[in-house]
């Protein structure tokens, strides 16, 4: 039996900033060249910056741990050499 949906008020300012329109506009404005640098990798973004990048998600978590950063948005950037048909 699946748990029913519940209302959860997000109050953490850092988390709210991660889903802000400004943050999304910045991500969507990244150049093809910039994204291509991270092709086939997981990237962590925060405050309109790419703060870590790794070929594995585990590697990305380790980089964030070393930097002492927890609240980020993690995205996977497809390898630009490949056509994706998920």
């Amino acid at each position: 039996m699946r748990k029913p949906p519940i209302k959860v008020e997000l109050k953490d300012k850092e988390l709210l900033e991660l889903i802000s329109e400004e943050e999304e506009r910045w991500f969507n404005s990244l150049s093809a060249e910039e994204l291509a640098k991270h092709g086939g990798k997981y990237i962590a973004t925060k405050n309109r910056q790419i703060i870590a990048s790794s070929e594995s998600l585990g590697g990305l978590y380790r980089q964030l741990e070393v930097k002492g950063i927890q609240k980020v948005c993690i995205s996977y950037i497809d390898d630009p050499r490949l056509v994706v048909i998920y």
């Binding site: 699946r2 748990k3 029913p4 949906p5 519940i6 209302k7 959860v8 008020e9 997000l10 988390l15 709210l16 991660l18 889903i19 999304e24 991500f27 969507n28 990244l30 093809a32 994204l35 291509a36 092709g39 086939g40 997981y42 070929e55 594995s56 998600l57 585990g58 978590y61 927890q70 609240k71 980020v72 948005c73 993690i74 995205s75 996977y76 950037i77 497809d78 630009p80 050499r81 490949l82 056509v83 994706v84 048909i85 998920y86």
Partner: protein
């Protein structure tokens, strides 16, 4: 209801292609963490890498075993995954829902397929406008 712009990605030709994505918070052991998922109406399942699963504090063996295949029918291209129920938070509407994600021990993208996630939303893809509209269907909350 809320609308998200599609996200640009680079193609092999150097062209830019736009894909429907949504950022969702995944409830891990200590807190919520944000991931950008591809909204894929052609995928049966939701999928995420094993490393994310390790953050959930669950037992791998407790998940239902699934075998995944993509374009290649070759036996060696079939990948084993485990399906686990996960709480995610949709920040735009402040709603936490419970969905099933198939975790895979490979470096795979984050994919929101039809099973479970699409039960909660009527999703409209507007390719000319490069936008996706999510209409939450549960009126009980």
């Amino acid at each position: 209801m809320f609308t998200k712009d599609w996200t640009p990605f680079t193609m092999p030709t150097g062209e830019t292609i736009y894909r429907p994505t949504i950022k969702v918070f995944v409830k891990e052991v200590t807190d919520f963490y944000l991931y950008r998922f591809l909204v894929d109406s052609g995928a049966d399942l939701l999928m995420a890498p094993y490393s994310l699963f390790c953050k959930l504090g669950k037992k791998w063996e407790d998940g239902e075993k699934r075998f995944l295949r993509g374009i290649s029918p070759k036996e060696e291209c079939i990948v084993e995954g485990r399906v686990h129920d996960v709480d995610i938070l949709i920040g735009e509407i402040s709603v936490q829902i419970n969905i099933s994600i198939c975790f895979v021990k490979e470096n795979v993208p984050f994919i929101l397929g039809r099973e479970s996630f699409f039960n909660y939303f009527i999703i409209t893809f507007d390719k000319p406008a490069k936008k996706t509209t999510f209409a939450f269907v549960d009126t009980s909350i």
